[in-house]
């Protein structure tokens, strides 16, 4: 009987200690890092093809800051408007425009082929490249960039896509910097892009 009397409180104590320790770890990770971790983990490896059919990865964009926007060509309003806005801002950047990469990633790879993306982007500033891939590859990059997208079925096989309508601005080190939300005024959007261009390493 003696050992048992000892074991129960010890076990309870151990349990209590573990609980407190777990809480502490949770509290630290929550306060100290959760929000920051979520932001700093935006971005990551991907493998896609660009609108010329060439294979692209995160390394293709390495060394230059970049602006990345997720959308689809069947989108009649927000996507062309955003790409047109971006085209206007790129023009306003002047020579600084070349310090950045600009990427339009489709969330509708089933319809947005390499050819479709290429034709579509010919209507916008030539700096903007289009990326597409397999559904699994698109799912991977969307996950990496914390992009929400969802296929919404309509009638007779038609569908639309819900998707995040923000432009991600990423640093030359592939680290998240900020976003340009939908309908950002020209002045602040250009200021953000300018500031990103200035972050380009001079080497």
């Amino acid at each position: 009987m003696r050992p048992r009397q000892w074991i129960v409180p010890a076990f309870a104590g151990l349990l209590g200690f573990t609980a407190v320790a777990l809480c502490a770890v949770y509290a630290v990770s929550f306060r100290g890092g959760h929000g920051v971790a979520a932001i700093s983990s935006i971005g990551g490896p991907f493998t896609l093809v660009d609108d010329t059919g060439a294979k692209v990865t995160e390394k293709t964009l390495a060394g230059k800051p970049y602006a990345m926007y997720f959308g689809y060509t069947f989108c009649p309003d927000v996507c062309p408007t955003t790409l047109l806005d971006l085209s206007r801002w790129i023009k306003k950047l002047g020579p600084d425009a070349d310090k950045l990469n600009y990427v339009f990633v489709t969330v509708d790879p089933a319809r947005d082929t390499v050819q479709t993306m290429h034709a579509y982007l010919s209507s916008f500033d030539k700096h903007i490249r289009g990326y597409t891939g397999t559904p699994a590859e698109i799912a991977q990059i969307a996950k990496a960039y914390r992009v929400y997208y969802k296929k919404i079925p309509g009638e007779n096989g038609d569908y639309t896509m819900d998707h995040s309508a923000i432009i991600y601005l990423m640093g030359p080190d592939d680290k998240f910097v900020t976003v340009i939300p939908y309908q950002e005024p020209d002045a602040t959007a250009i200021a953000k892009l300018k500031s990103l261009a200035d972050a380009t390493p001079t080497s």
Binding site: T73, F74, D77, L84, A119, G154, T160, D162, A165
Partner: protein
């Protein structure tokens, strides 16, 4: 511009609603004003048509269908951006046009969605669109295609925004129906 906007407003009052480009039309108590669209990017398969639908009668009506030769299918859609997420849905059951009120179809909200464009829409082009209302029947309008970045029917005309303001003022009092949440009046 002032003179123009007065003239255009006067034209609206007598139901012509046709500032140079768009060709609106009316049937019974329903008036369709300034139907316009945007030029589409190369290869784009969809486009959107915007307009204001006015209902002068004492009974509500519903836009139930639309058709056009330029696209395989035409539907009424609602678009919105919430928490940074763009959402677009077909308006099921038709788009209500309240009695004595109006509904604005405009960028960022309701639009007539052209699906399966047979060719890109180009700036300056015009094309026919037929709208079907539950009570007023069919109304045919001519849609004027504005530049890709246009934000209203009068992309080329500075006086339009003034006119929109006076229109809004004169119609606001009528918009007290249960559909306010869906109205675009500001």
């Amino acid at each position: 511009m002032r003179t123009f906007s007065k003239l255009a407003f006067a034209a609206l009052l007598i139901g012509l609603a046709a500032p140079a480009f768009a060709q609106g039309a009316s049937s019974g108590s329903i008036t369709v004003e300034q139907p316009w669209s945007r030029a589409t990017p190369n290869g784009a398969k969809t486009g959107a048509v915007y307009m204001t639908i006015d209902n002068k009668s004492g009974t509500a009506d519903t836009l139930t269908a639309a058709s056009s030769d330029v696209a395989d299918k035409v539907q009424v859609h609602e678009m919105k951006v919430e928490n940074g997420i763009m959402q677009m849905r077909e308006v099921t059951g038709g788009l209500a046009v309240p009695a004595g009120g109006s509904v604005a179809l405009k960028p960022g909200g309701y639009h007539v969605m052209l699906i399966g464009l047979k060719k890109p829409l180009t700036t300056g082009e015009k094309f026919p669109l037929t709208l079907t209302f539950a009570k007023a029947g069919k109304i045919s309008v001519t849609v004027a295609v504005q530049a890709m970045g246009a934000s209203n029917a009068g992309g080329a005309m500075g006086g339009m925004s003034n006119m929109g303001g006076s229109m809004g003022g004169s119609m606001n009092k009528d918009n007290s129906g249960g559909n306010m949440g869906k109205m675009e009046m500001k």
